[in-house]
């Protein structure tokens, strides 16, 4: 009688620990990435996108590297202006471990191909589909650029066009981490 009572107590308290622990744990885990929109100091949402050659790129593939994630479209003049600047920056810092991921804002293949051939861009141009990734990142205006440190946290988010000096400065800072 006594021992069965003890077993019942332990079973119930264990069940409480498991169920309660799971419920509380998920809220703690969720609050880490809540708010939906990535913030400075937070982690950028994961994505899995295809480039112009059909290779799949995942953000997590670039773990441990300094990454510039840029959202752009051919319809956005400041984005268009930035693309060759990113190309020069990529050439300059590539050997220091810089990665640039330029995510196109769900435009069609012909448009993107024409654009990229015109500028001869060598960094990966990723194709968002149906604005999914863009929504995940909570974009409100274009271009928007995320500077992601090698530890996977966001150093800076720049909304709007940037000068090449500004980009250079950001990347130099990014590579010091």
């Amino acid at each position: 009688m006594k021992s069965s009572r003890k077993i019942m107590q332990i079973v119930i308290l264990t069940a409480v620990l498991i169920i309660g622990g799971y419920a509380i744990g998920t809220t703690l885990f969720a609050s880490g990435e809540s708010g939906g929109v990535p913030k400075v100091g937070g982690t950028p949402p994961e994505f899995k996108l295809v480039d112009l050659q059909g290779n799949v790129h995942q953000l997590s593939d670039y773990k441990g590297k300094a990454i510039v994630v840029n959202f752009w479209g051919t319809f956005c003049p400041p984005c268009v202006k930035e693309m060759p600047e990113f190309e020069r920056q990529f050439a300059k810092w590539q050997n220091d471990g810089l990665e640039i991921l330029a995510i196109n804002l769900s435009e069609d293949t012909l448009t993107v191909n024409n654009f990229v051939h015109q500028f001869e861009l060598n960094y990966p141009i990723l194709r968002d589909v149906d604005r999914k990734t863009e929504r995940k990142y909570g974009l409100r205006s274009y271009p928007t650029t995320f500077f992601v440190k090698p530890d996977g946290t966001i150093m800076d988010i720049t909304v709007g066009g940037m000068t090449e000096e500004y980009i250079d400065e950001r990347i130099a800072k990014l590579l010091t981490y």
Partner: protein, 553 residues
Amino acid sequence: MLSIHNTKCECGHQNAVGTVLCESCGKPLMEDQQQNEPLEMRYDGIARRSQKKNQNLIDRIWSFFSSVKIAIYLIVLTFLGATLGTIYPQENTFINNFDIAAYYESTYGTPGKIYQMLGLSHTYESWWFITLLVMIGTSLVICSLDRILPLYRALSKQQIRKHLQFINRQKTVYSAKVDEPAEAWVEQFAAQLKRKRYRVHMDGSALLAEKNRFSRWGPYINHIGLILFLLSILARSLPGWQMDSYITIADGATVPIEGTNYYVKNEKFTVDFYTDDELPPELKGQARAKLYETAAVLYTCSSGCEAGETPVLEEVARHDIIVNSPLKYKGLKLYQFDFDLTPKLISVKPMLINKETGEQYGPFELTMKDAALNYELGPYKMRLIANYMDFAVGENGEPTTLGREPNAPAFVFLITGPGLPEAGQPYMYFPMQKDKEKFGQDQINGALASKVEIKVDGMQNVNFSEASTSLNVRVDKALNFVWVGAAISMIGLLMGSYWQHRRIWLRIDDGQLSLGAHTNKNWYGMRADVAGALQKIGVTVDPKSLDNGGNNA
């Protein structure tokens, strides 16, 4: 509170620590009880399971949650916490993904910022709120178990002949001299109680009559329901158990539902407005929707569902969604939420015309989104080399696009064929007549414009979406369990509140009748039962005179 004293009753029964009334004869065991006050009958005076000496850690946790006082504190704290969540709108009431921190500050000022920073903008998903719920759940389980098991034991083996002190210190009592033989009197009285649907047990000159014992289980059944309710709410955090999102689909388009394997097609969105005749005078001239309906088809993706692949879809359900008539499929519900009546060009079917001979080739299908690159039309070959969804001439005179929606689409084809250079000649085509004139299609194409023309013949060859629909996607697997829990809890509540457990004890010692009766509520009814039964055997008593004082009598 727990006095450590000899727990053996004078009747010889060994009681557990914390017992208030002897489990067997009912004699009050606590010395500190006032001598003549009505007895504390809660849980029939039994000890709760957790009341024991030498508590170890598990016992202490157990007793903590077993305390009703703690349970009330927890409930009050949860209520107070829940009210905090009602000060400003919660995050999950916003549809769009945007910068929530900035929203609270800009809308509600500094209090809003503090509110958001404290995490109160998602009160009901916060760790502390869930912790309170888990603690209430634990308290419900432990409080109930700690009381129901001993109570069940006590009620299922009740002693018929109770201690005189127990009988005389009930809240409803009666005593008198009985001249008849004791057993005959008891038999007579028992017959009357049976007519009142009491279950009667007799032991010579002692009697125990009882009715509606099941109402004692009401609170525990209620608790089982509440526990199920709480568990279902906690289960919402399981992956795939809850979802509340929004999708917008243009007419004819198929879009994936994020986070699921489903795709939805909007075959046709229809909206009907009330005519002015149907509207009251103050609303005349306004566009009031009478019906909005989405002919929706639900698909699952069977292969090629990864990024960059072409999904293979299988139809699983179709339904004409109107307000309050969602498409339902395996717990997934699609509700009509909103619509947008801005037309969007999807595709055109133009002809290629040789202007010199008048010969026509085609039609060929040109889609606005991801158009095919090569076309063969009779002797002509066309290759699409550029497209602009929202055509404009840029600062440097180059063609450019202002956006990605086909508001002013333009296509550049490289045409080869009779009378044209072998390398081909570029031809710019504006599917919309207004753009053709605005941007001067013929001037752009120059000499080529007099040789060939791409032209749409009639509206039947223009395919555009008249509208797009917004659907609310919901999954709530927990909801059914919530309903079951609520139903069980309601059954328990009714059991406990519409019936009362009534008991009557009596014994006749040397012609002296001692009668005591107990119920958990409705003492008026209890006294009426006793007085009524006595009346039937010729003893007239005023029901009020049976009242022995005490609270809630």
